[in-house]
Amino acid sequence: MTDEVLYGCKVFYAPLSNCSKNMKETVKLGKYLFIICAVAGVTLAVTNYFTTKKIASQKLEVENAALKEVLPVAFCFEVKNNFPKNGYDEKNNIVGYVLKVIANGYSSEISALVGLDRDFEVTGVKILSHNETPGLGSKIAEKSFLSQFIGKFSEKILLKKDAQAGEIDGITSATISSRAITDAIRKNIDEFKKTVK
């Protein structure tokens, strides 16, 4: 009986002392990790502090350059987060619009900016991002393809092989990509026309 009690006590106490030992180690490890994380956090905060401004201005610059590229006549652009954006001349008159077009390409979503003047004639197209097959579909981002759109009205923005009125030459062996972006541009212009009128 006494043995049992004693034995019981031993069993009862042994894990407790182990437990506090484990606890101590856990706290020690926790402390170490905490210090490492704190130092890392501070370092990153400092880096972030010095780079955010630069990153933001860089982004704005890239965006403005893109807008300017598709609508060169504009002096400045409407400041807002969504599209379409109006382009203004020095006297604050609207000289054109910039639309954002999303097309479902062959292997990715193609996003592009399209510049229009007040008569809805295309002034420029720029591909913002795509993930089409390199060397084939990726040629939609090249000047030789995109310059075809300049000076055209939406009725003529069709692939030559798709319609008689079409005046856009598709890219050899990348018909799906070329058609996707061409059709998306035409549809977006047509829709935009309705909202402006």
Partner: protein
Amino acid sequence: MSSKKLLNEFTKGIIKENPVLILMVGLCSVLAVSTEVKNAIGMGSAMTFVLLGSNILVSFLRNSIPNKVRIPVFLIIIGSFTTIVDLVMNAYAPAIHKNLGIFIPLIVVNCIIIARAEAFAAKNPVLDSAMDALGIGFGYALVLFVIATIREILGNGTFFGVQLFTGFNPVLIMMLPPGAFITIGLLMAILRSVKK
């Protein structure tokens, strides 16, 4: 003697223990970003920087890091350096940053870096670890550069974005993932036969 050892730590990463062609680690980023020489250089330097930073710090702390939490500690160190590179590249080299995309943040899980921290920096003095990092980083960048050169010239007819030939019909497959596998396989074969 010791300077010779240091030099050895550096040079072993280039051929004898080349991370890509011999150790065959970190292949994912090599295959993905080696389509253009410009990207290869960007990725190579980002990788070398993270490797150098993490190796030095891990080696510096090697006696104080509790064994049980060493992997989390390595990851925090590597993650911090990667984030620094990511932010700085985004701010000062946005074009390359955009091209490399997800592969910069993914340096965190690149096995080259964690392997060097665990296998080398955790056991060796700071200077040796730094040389090891530079050697491995340079070896990685060199392979990336060679693969990218081959792929860009054959697949796009350009080098560093400059058109090399006129009327050249690019070998499209070199730009696609199979081109990366073919090139890397051939390089491995060449290196192995030379080593023998």
